[in-house]
């Protein structure tokens, strides 16, 4: 899940009202689009839809777009189009009959498997419009000469740096924003994607697999192995549980109290604001079991059209084409899920490289927690976010790995059952 939209202000809907008023004055009512974005992202998206032939009114629904859309549906005032941050929502809405079936533009092509996430019963109800690459570690070359290529190397480096950090002679190896549950689920998804067979990962996401099965246990054991290393986190694990995502980035790029921080491509947004000196942070991929195994977890936003709005479906079709997002590509900070978008159109070198990775990746897994049903999908203090935070507190608080894994898998299975999936 993209974080920026969570952190930025939802108040930025201002311009939307203004542009809507302008649109209405031209006669035909504007197509209404509800988005989760705010701040810079919202401004960029406005530039994008400015290129659409008809007037479009963009409204920022803020972080809780689900509650917003449910209330609007209840009141019978649903917008024409919505951009949803979780594929699970698309499926949920489609099953309730709220959405209109879609046909994307001819130039719409996303990495294998991704399109299926927005379909139910063989019908397509959404198209991907923005992607997030969620398998990156960020660090400074001057602080880490040789980034780890495998999981074991990551553990070894963490042990070595952790020992030095305990002695007070070096920064801690890892910054982690464990106060935000989604950071921990992103960790878990990367490890799981490396360990589990793709089929199992997908089955888990669909609620058809058992959360107590071996792959989940091994993934959690791996995390326990790394997270329980003494001195792994600046200020200790209790402090890490009160550290939010942005602060974990600040610990690396500003204070240099930690060497590496794991998260998505959008880390650059925070690091640009807080980094000191001229050295730019660089990335390495989340390491897998072998150097050749590099799990790739994608997150993203999907556009849907509401039932009874042919104009909405038209706009979504236009958005799915490779051309629509050119203004955002030029401005930077945007990664397209559409692999037909030429790499040259990326003006932001990091994202150009990531777009190339997206093309070459053999196996792409999509953010698991975003696909879970109901409250299991997680928010502050709820669902899988909370379970992973409990697990983090357990393994860093002296509970044995075996016991912590047993507790976590039990909670996961129970939450999956309560949400109506899983076994």
């Amino acid at each position: 899940m993209t974080l920026r939209r969570r952190t930025l202000l939802r108040a930025a809907a201002a311009a939307g009202t203004a542009s809507a008023a302008a649109a209405c004055s031209r006669g035909e009512p504007a197509v209404q689009v509800a988005v989760v974005w705010s701040g810079t992202e919202l401004a960029r998206f406005r530039q994008v839809v400015a290129g659409y032939g008809a007037p479009v009114r963009v409204v920022s629904a803020g972080n809780d777009i689900d509650a917003f859309l449910r209330a609007r549906h209840l009141a019978g005032t649903s917008p024409d189009v919505a951009i949803l941050p979780r594929s699970g929502l698309v499926v949920e809405y489609a099953r309730r009959g709220w959405l209109r079936e879609l046909a994307p533009a001819a130039s719409y092509a996303v990495p294998p498997g991704m399109a299926d996430l927005l379909a139910t019963d063989g019908r397509r109800y959404g198209v991907w419009v923005k992607a997030a690459h969620k398998s990156l570690f960020w660090y400074f070359r001057s602080m880490l000469s040789e980034p780890p290529a495998t999981w074991d190397q990551l553990v070894a480096i963490t042990r070595r740096l952790g020992a030095r950090a305990r002695a007070g002679i070096a920064p801690a190896p890892l910054a982690i924003g464990a106060a935000d549950g989604w950071v921990l689920t992103d960790w878990f998804e990367n490890v799981l994607a490396d360990i589990a067979a793709p089929d199992f990962y997908e089955a888990l996401a669909r609620g058809e697999a058992d959360w107590r099965s071996r792959s989940v246990r091994i993934a959690l054991e791996r995390l326990a192995e790394l997270w329980s290393i003494d001195g792994a986190f600046p200020g200790g694990p209790r402090r890490a549980l009160l550290t939010q995502y942005e602060e974990s980035v600040i610990q690396v790029v500003h204070h240099r109290r930690a060497t590496m921080v794991f998260e998505a491509d959008f880390v650059d947004d925070v690091s640009a604001r807080f980094q000191r000196g001229t050295e730019q942070p660089v990335t390495f991929r989340f390491p897998g079991s072998r150097a050749a195994d590099r799990p790739l977890i994608l997150g993203g936003d999907a556009a849907v059209a509401f039932a009874g709005s042919p104009r909405g479906a038209e706009l979504v079709r236009w958005l799915s084409g490779g051309e629509a997002f050119q203004p955002w590509l030029r401005a930077g900070g945007y990664l397209s899920p559409n692999v037909t978008v030429p790499l040259e159109s990326y003006h932001d070198p990091m994202r150009r490289a990531l777009a190339a990775e997206l093309r070459d990746a053999e196996s792409v897994r999509f953010d698991l927690s975003d696909r879970l049903p109901g409250p299991f999908t997680g928010s502050d203090g709820v669902g899988i976010w909370r379970i992973m935070q409990d697990f983090f507190a357990d393994v860093t608080g002296g509970v044995s790995a075996a016991e912590a894994v047993r507790r976590a898998t039990g909670q996961l299975a129970a939450a999956a059952r309560a949400a109506g999936g899983g076994r």
């Binding site: 930025a12 449910r70 609007r72 009141a75 005032t77 935000d180 009160l242 604001r273 203090g381």
Partner: protein
Amino acid sequence: MTRPVLGELAVLDDVGPPRRGRAYPAAGATSALLLPALLLLGGLVAWPVLRTLHASVVTDGRWVGAANFRAAFAAPGTAAVVGRTVLWALLVPAVVTVLGYLLAAASRRSQEGGLVRLILVVPTALPLVVTGVTFRLLYDPDPQRGLATLLLARLTGRPAEQVPQLLGPGLVTVALMSAFVWAWVGLAVLVFRAALDAVPPSLGDAVRAYGGNRRDVLWDAQWRPLLLRTVAVVFALVALGTSRTFDLILVMTPGSVRDEASVLALRVWQTSGGTTTGEGAALGVIWLAAVAAGMLVAALFVRQAWPPPRDPGPVDPEPAAPPRRSIRLLAAGAALAWLVPLGVLLATSLHRPVDAAARAWWSTAPSLDSYRQLASGPELWRTLGFTLVLATLVTAAVLGIALLAAYPLAWLTGPPAQATGLLLMAASVVPVQVIAGPVNEVLGAVLSSGTTRGLALVHVALGIPFAVLVLRNAFADLPAEQVRAVRLGGRHWWSTLRLLARHNRPAVIAVAVLEFVQVWNDLVVGLLFSGPGAAPLGLFLAGQTRGFVANSGVLAAGSVVASILPVLLVVLARRQLVAGLVAGGVR
């Protein structure tokens, strides 16, 4: 949502025995005056409450009996949540009441007393969101930023990693409670001060003359005649206020400790969000029942504890001696302590955004960069403008509708008066989270869901019961001769109404100020009902707390800007507030 309602004093008093025996028949035409208030309350409070009751016993339209309640209680942590809610409702009011009495007594009749009370009153006017921001800054777990953590590290002599974390799972509820106490003590001080001032000093002299010691004076000259009841009122008021800790929890707790801080308000919202179904509705009904029961108990208690108030007569002109020096020092010390969080907020806002996030506010020179960044974006101006217009319109609407409705109600006496009093009180304590879903349905039916008009309607509906109560009480207390003179003069009802409003200016001002401040300071109504065009201030601030540390400079600057108007209003109007509301209860 916070409703720092000074006037619940007057409100609670009203359900006591009828004290006004004006047998003015309500003119038939004036019943129509009740219509706007009835429509709003019926549509946006009463009907939604019924819908929630209904939703708690059905699932997808099927009758399921108590299944939702069982499921809600079977969910892990529900027992702890209920226990914590009860703890809030008992412990916090006790602390606020004791502190409020001590500080009111200590700050009486001394030169610096006025200043002390002024300082204590400022936090009561702040939006709870701002209080949350302030205390999260103060309690930051990093000793390089959080003053409290730094002091704890110094005091305990432990390294930073082992200092008790005020925002950690063990202490987070204590941290939240401390913020709440900070915000509410000023209210208790005001009420106690009004009560103490109403006690004639000669009563204490009389007790002393009969050989009573200090304890006897306290007991016979303060507690028995007045304080018992005031304590009951303050306790009930704060206890009802604790059911609205929602804003504070949302702002102050990182996700990892939210469960450890959770109370029913939060659980209901987490379970059902903007809709009200199943388990969320069941929890809501439990909450509703608890609030209603608390209100009834408070009303009964007040009624028994307080024989019909008699006129205490003019306060003895002879100035009594100020409290002892040590006690005055205590009051001054408390005022200084109360200033610390405000200082932290102000100091943080006076740092560059990067510095505010990365280092201590005491370690760098002040700068206006955070304010500059805040002011350079369009969001701040838009949200200030929006909130100003919204609060003004809502206040005007509430005042108008409540004046109309209070007029006919003021003539009621006996049981009907008590019944309307209780009903209005019940309506004013309904937690809005509990009825969010049905309210949205109703708004949908009038094409207002997700619009600014809908948001304003909800605010008006929630503000009316309290405003009607206060104005009705004030009207009913107007000397009968004056009313009679107007009526005998053969004038129209609106002349009478104008006269009533003119003679009850403090009550009108009090209602207007409280309503304005309440809408200005709101978070939860905006969170549940604002649509895309709306930009209420509470949401603007709360939205930035997601990345709390990274945004702390701009957030602190925004908090300061957001607090100026409510603080000014409450401080300037505090005499009218006391006169219009508190004094009304003691009269």
